[in-house]
């Protein structure tokens, strides 16, 4: 049986090769594929770092006293779209690596962990090194950063929001001012 199969398969495959019915994909095709994949992963990483950094940037003015109330306000005004897009980016990058992976054995848990760490560390580093302030003051992203800063500050300003007015109770807490007409 195996001899018969051998002749059949060998003949069938070789006749397709000789007739030109099947041909080898050129080397550049795979190089282009790998380059595109690598490029996509790099772009997705940069975008993820940027979005994660925006999330950190929008939280920055609200460190300090009044933690409980501020936390609640922070959750309400947090730009959830930023981490959602960042996480989607991470998932997409991992999917790309898995689907178009032409290489061999890879430690995927390690790659995923490194990728997430790179995104978080990258975002924190940008924040610590003061690039956020730099971008908010000058450069092509100035308008965007200012918009996020203003939007967040507006949401945190006492006395604003849903027809209720807030007044400062003491140094750390706020309360709803019931005496103010709606």
């Amino acid at each position: 049986m195996s001899k018969k199969n051998q002749i059949n398969i060998e003949n069938e495959v070789m006749s397709q090769i000789k007739s030109g019915k099947i041909s080898m994909k050129p080397k550049w095709y795979f190089m282009l594929g790998s380059t595109l994949m690598f490029g996509s992963v790099v772009v997705l990483t940069v975008v993820s770092i940027f979005l994660f950094n925006i999330a950190l940037f929008s939280l920055k003015p609200h460190y300090g006293p009044g933690a409980g109330f501020r936390l609640e306000m922070m959750i309400n005004s947090f730009p959830w779209w930023a981490p959602i897009i960042a996480i989607t980016g991470i998932i997409l990058a991992i999917w790309l690596l898995k689907k178009y992976d032409f290489s061999y054995r890879k430690n995927f848990p390690l790659i995923i962990l490194s990728f997430i760490l790179a995104v978080i560390l990258g975002a924190i580093l940008i924040d610590i090194l003061g690039f956020n302030d730099y971008f908010a003051k000058r450069g092509p992203m100035r308008g965007f950063y200012r918009q996020i800063e203003n939007q967040t500050n507006d949401n945190f300003r006492p006395g604003k929001g849903n027809g209720l007015r807030l007044r400062k109770y003491n140094q750390d807490t706020f309360e709803i001012d019931k005496n103010v007409p709606k």
């Binding site: 199969n5 051998q6 069938e12 090769i17 080898m24």
Partner: protein, 182 residues
Amino acid sequence: MRDIQKLSDEQIVEIIRTKDKELFSEIIKRYEEKLLRYASYLLNDSEKAKDSVQNSFIKAYVNLNSFNSKFKFSSWIYRITHNEAINYINKNKNEKPFFENLEIESDENLEEEYSKNEIISMIKTCINQMPIMYKEPLTLYYLEDKSYLEISDILRIPVNTVGVRISRAKALMKKICLKKTK
């Protein structure tokens, strides 16, 4: 004429890619029987196995430029055959369940109880009743003489997982074979 028999698979692939595409017949000769045996164990059908091996050779030829000569060619071509067989099984999923979440205890003592030849004959008798996730590493290890590292390359799973699956596969095989002989 070159002494083709003395050349390694990787050297032959290099010649096919650069000089002589007809030398692909030598690759077919070297792997056809092994791949047919492997695919037959996975698919439980010699005709389907033949089709899948033929497709594997065609895919291997078309994508030959994506093969990295630094790695083992045998792992690469086994991987293609594995993918072909899995694609076939997925398309015909109703034919045989996967038993993905089957809980099976490990069996480290099978080698002490039986000789390697006895284990091989057990595999040949009972392999058809085993789920594919155990069938694959067991076949590759005992029937195709692949190392844990090569199996890890072919199945794209960590080496430790290969060990765990083989151990569980032996326990399952023992159960199935004992049932059969009772």
